[in-house]
Structures are given as C-alpha cells and as structure tokens.
Symmetry: C3
Subunit: 279 residues, 3 copies
C-alpha cells in the first residue's frame, strides 16, 4: 500500500509537469461531449487532438505519450479504429485510457470491448455499473461477483459495489481503475484511494465522466497509471467543489467548473481530501 | 377542444413526473447541437443517451419510453438507423419525436422522411417552412396548400402559414405538432395552443429547436403527445423569457437559458402565457 | 499594395452587409468545435448549416455564396464529400474557405489536400506550421523553403516563418491567406496586413481557429477574399481583446468572446489595430 503523503507528492509533481510541458493526449471519443473533453484537457494544461480513422488513431499514438478511447457514440469505422489504436498504444508501450461507456447498448460495443482485453488499458474509468460489467465481460470476477448484467449510461450502483471489480481489473491490467460516484474510488489493485468533493451538479451536465477520461490521459503522459488516476480524479473533485460554491444551476456550473480546472494549482489538487486503504 | 385549465394542469403534472422519475429519452441527433440537446434534457429533469448505429437505436427504444430523431447532420449509416429506430418505436407503441430539419438538402433526407411516414411520429417539431414541407411530402395538404417547396434550415414563414399543415400532420399521426416561431403553435389536430414568450436571442444561438425536440421526447416519456408538446414548448418559452431578462448577448444568454430550464417549476411552466383555440 | 484606410473602409462595409443580410455559409467541419463554428457564425450576423454527405455539400454551395471546409475530424465519406464540395464551389465561382487542420495526421488528409489544389480556395486559414505544410504539399515553395515537414494541430512556428508560404499560396489561389499567431498575418499575395489584439486565453479553449474559419466564410459571402480575410481576423482579435479585459479563465472567456463577437460594430472591427506592408 502506498502512503498518502507519497501519493500527494506524486500528484502535485504530475500536475506541475503537465503545466510545464503542455502534453498532447489524442482522443477517439463521443460526439456528445467531445468539445468538453478537449476544453478540459486544455484547461488542466494539456493539449488535444480528436480523430476517427484507424491510421489517424495510430498517428496520435505515435505523436504523444497517451491516448483516450471513449466508446460513447460508435461509428461503423470504429470497428477498425478502436482496436487499431489500442493495439498501437499497447505495442508501443504507451499509456491509454478506456471509458467503456454504454456497455450493453448494441452488439458492436460488446464485441470491441472483448477485443480490447489483451491490450490492457493503463487506466479504466467508469461508473460502478460499467466497471462491474467490464470486469464481468473480461471474466475477472469470481462466480459470486459475476452479475452478468450489462448496463447503459445510467449510474445505479454505488462505488463500493464495484470495489472488487475495480481491484480485479487493475490487477489484470497492471494499471489503475477509477470508479466515479458520489465518492470516487481509485485503485491499482493494491492501494485504494477514495477521493472526496465534487458536486451533485456534475450529474446535471453531460460529460463530466468523459472529460475526466481525457484529463486522465493528459496526466498519464506525465505520470504512472495510479498517480495519473488519483491526480485527474482529485483535480475534478476540487474543481467541482469550488464551482458548486458559486454556481447553483448546471450551465453556469459547467463554465465555472472548467475555469476552476484551469485555476487549480498542483498543491491544491494534491490537498483535495482523500482517504487511503489497502485493496 | 381541450380547456386551457385542463391543459395547464396536465402540463404541471408532466413536469413534476419528469423531475421525480428522471426518465431517459434516447436520441439520434445532429453533431452540431448534440451537447445542447443532452444538457437541455438533463436540465429539465430527464436523462440522455445518443447513438448512431441501427441496433443501438433499437436498444434505446427498448431502454426508455421515448426517442428523438433529428435529421440535422446525416451520416451514411442513417439510411439504416433512422428507419430502424422509428419502426422499433412504432412497433413497440413507444413515443418518438421527429425534427425534419434541413428537409430539401440532398437526397437522403427526403428519402428517409418518405420512409418514416408509416411510423407516425408522436410529436413533430419544426419551423413553419419545415412543417409545410413535411406535410407536402407526405401528401397531407389540399392542392391549394401543397406549395412543393422544400426548404433548408432557414425560417422564412410565420407559424400561421403552417397552421393548416400542422393540423393535417397531427390528424394523420394521431399525435401532436409543434411549429416554432415568434409565437409557437402546438396542435393535436383538434385544439390549437399558441405559446408566448421566448426571446429573439434564441435565434442567435444554434440548437434551440434541436434541443427543444430532445426535451419534447423527455416529456413524451411521461405524458400524452399533446401535453408533452405544450409542456416542452411552454418550458422553453419561459426559460427564454427569463434568460432574456438578464442576458443581452448570445453566449451568456445560452448559459442562462439552460440554467432557467433547470430552475423552472411545474407550476411556473404551466403558468407561461398561452391561448387556446379550435383547430 | 492597398492603403490602410481603404482596407478599413472595406472591412466596415463588409461587417455592415453581413449584419444586414444574415448570409448563410455552409460548413463541412470537425465535430470537436462544430457548435462553436455555428455559434460564431450566428454571433457575427451570419447563419449556419453543417452537413457530411457529398450531395448535401453541393446543396450548401448552391444555397449560399460561400462554404467552409475544415479537415479536423475526417469521416470515411469525406473522401467524396470534401472534393465534391470544393469542386462545386470552384465551378460555380463561389467562395470557399479551407482550414487544413491536422495536415500530416494519417493518409486521407494528405490525399484530400492534394486533390483540392486545382479548386483554389478563396481563403486559406491555418497556423504557421499548417500554412507552410500546405504550401509545401502544393509545391509552391522554393527549394530552400520547402521544409517537407507535415505537422499536426500544434502551433510551433511564428507567423513570420510562414510569410513566404502565405504569399506563395495567395498568389497561386488568387485569393487570401490568414496565418493565425500571436499577431495574425493576412495577405492577398501583394499586400500583407498584420492584425493585432486577441488574448493568450484563445489558445486555452478549443476552436478559435476553426470558428474563425467559419466566420471568414460568412464574410466571404459579402466581400472579396482579402477584405473578408481582414474583416474576420480583425473581428476575432477585437473580441479576444475585449473578452480578456473581463474574463480570466478559459470557459468564461469563451462565453464573453462570443458575446463580444455579437456586440462589435463594423466601425469598431475596422478600427482594430493593424499594420500594412508590401508582400
């Protein structure tokens, strides 16, 4: 288990490095929240590029240190683009972040997620239902945990319901897993961090989860999987807490939230409340 | 003809039910305003999911009580997705909302709208030109009304020019039709409601029409077609009026508008000015 | 060389004409910033329509006086849509604006840009790296300038590095070229305008370049290429300067920026600081 002070120091260092180096993290992401993903990546200090075609996904892998794959709105070409990009990242030893949003809607989504298993995502981010469904799809759960219940975009389980699934996923990938909820859970399979803060208004705008995935990829260009996962999660919770202190309705909250992503310093991000426990 | 008090009571009840049940209304919608559609659906109390593939459209029909089909930006796969989704909704007896935006641009749009006729949309929303063009395409106008003039995204006719077309459409579908204009017109083929309010700034931002379509689908999960159509239209006019009271330029207006969608109560929505007449 | 006063008078006239006539400029543009493009076009006084299919691109050419082609996020169908639309504009003698964003990512982008050469874009807009790469791809540079270095979305060269490339491009097309940078450079191959203003925050939000391209197309419906290029560039720099006077973080800056696009008068746009020199 990693000590809290050690985690916080690594988070602050990662945030500083992102701000200093302006790293590019390319994305293949859904069209609903693609603008939010890009603007969040820029606000935290990174840069963004989004593509749809297979060889363009491979080019983004070559051009940066991490890519983000979000399954929100699948196009037919994604049958090629998603596996090609994940494979390119895996083969090049570069980081990639997976958001398995909408698992259970249609057949292509399930097929693609099955194909992605051998490419072991550096960070997986989802709500509890999605994390459980992915661990189940990848046969990582004991018989009693495998609920075999694919879910859509809804969040219906608390993060504790997904603790075992998250740990199992992280142990399989050798990376980190972020479970988004009222309190977020981050694990590398050994240590579990619970990250506090945020706001209920984050569920009243679309794309907090998607854009956090893009931010995790930005952090993954500059830090190990677990540090990147905690940093991106802490950064989001801090900005959510601060935005909710001034905004009372969703659209003004979103504007303030992105502004607060931009304003937060490495020290402030590291100081966002967290608890640490063994997995 | 339905009495005004009866309409207002049904509108307030629909708004309360949406806020209590957080219903999902899936969408196949254009990429220009897709983020606005989702955020408006969330602001009024619903939830959102957007897809592009045929079996995913069918899955959204199965997962909720209403879907929204907006023809703004057609992809090649829509040749399958749009009819498959409309058919699935029709066959399941679920509500679906059609926005025939851009009718007259290119050949696929016209072909798809012709195919959709037998699936009788629960609510059709468009500006006057689009409503006239759709009624004409579906051969629902008398010879003197059939102007045979497909139009693009421009609004060039007042809602009264589309009154006959709207009534004819509603009588054919058995549902409701919303004609957007300076004063909006809503009809079920028997009663005509004119809904007042809104702001000129709504035409200075993109997506008020599209996002209203998504909101109509949210309401259609919880209410009959006519009530849903009046509720979504009243909700939009109220938020537009309120936003225009504080914002004087389009981008700050949009932020305030979404905030006001979120803040409006069922009683306030029902109290938005309307007049009622026989069709 | 055109005199500064003459340029300023033409810019003010173009801005007035846009506000009076609300001209439509259709776009085939990327999904990341498509909402920003449309809202910017509306804010400056134009109207917007976005499509993806080849015959719809041709329909937008027929329906307006200018179209905008932005290569940011290519779909497979763009292999047909982009050349068909550029050819339609060229053959009809209508204006079209090219943003060669992401040149160097993947193979289709390069292939399409090669195909576009004979259709001579009325205005090309890009950062220094993109303008150099395009002039190089089109064999318009002397041997010493042809750096043969395709680039992604990053801005790494100052506008002066692209001065020769911009002049060469403008002489080839017979139109105008805008190089975006800290100070923007606009040329018709004979006169060079340097346009001042803007804000560093413009690089902290996604889409200032893309949306400026859409605005250039709106201006190109009402003015010659050089006037349109200077008008759209001056309008952007003025709004950026003003927004930075009140906003200190990116998301609130974006809202204020679009509001200031809307508020700026023709005289104010013409008065934005510029210097003029021979090419």
């Amino acid at each position: 288990m990693i000590e809290k002070n050690q985690i916080k120091a690594a988070v602050a260092a990662a945030a500083h490095k992102v701000r200093e180096t302006n790293p590019m993290a390319g994305s293949i992401t859904n069209t609903v929240t693609i603008d939010f993903v890009a603007n969040a990546q820029l606000a935290v200090g990174g840069s963004a590029a989004m593509v749809y075609l297979p060889d363009e996904g491979e080019a983004l892998v070559a051009a940066g240190n991490a890519v983000y794959l979000n399954m929100g709105t699948l196009f037919p070409i994604y049958e090629q683009t998603i596996p090609a990009t994940a494979k390119a990242a895996h083969d090049a030893g570069k980081a990639w972040v997976l958001d398995p949003v909408g698992l259970g809607i249609g057949s292509l989504r399930t097929k693609l997620l099955e194909e992605l298993k051998p490419y072991k995502p550096t960070i997986v981010r989802g709500n509890a239902s999605e994390i459980i469904a992915l661990a189940s799809l990848w046969d990582l759960l004991g018989a009693e945990d495998a609920l075999d219940r694919p879910r859509g975009v809804d969040t219906t389980d608390g993060v504790d319901a997904a603790r075992e699934a998250a740990v199992a996923l992280a142990r399989y990938t050798g990376g980190a897993v972020v479970v988004s909820g009222e309190v977020d859970l981050v694990t590398d399979g050994t240590t579990v961090v619970r990250s506090h803060g945020g706001s209920e208004l984050m569920s009243k705008i679309t794309g907090c989860g998607c854009s956090q995935g893009g931010v995790l990829a930005v952090y993954a260009t500059c830090a190990d999987a677990f540090t990147a996962a905690v940093a991106g999660t802490s950064h989001y919770n801090l900005a959510g807490t601060r935005a909710a202190a001034v905004a009372t309705a969703p659209a003004s909250f979103k504007v303030t939230f992105i502004d607060e992503l931009y304003r937060a310093t490495g020290e402030e991000i590291a100081a966002n409340p967290m608890s640490v426990e063994e997995a």
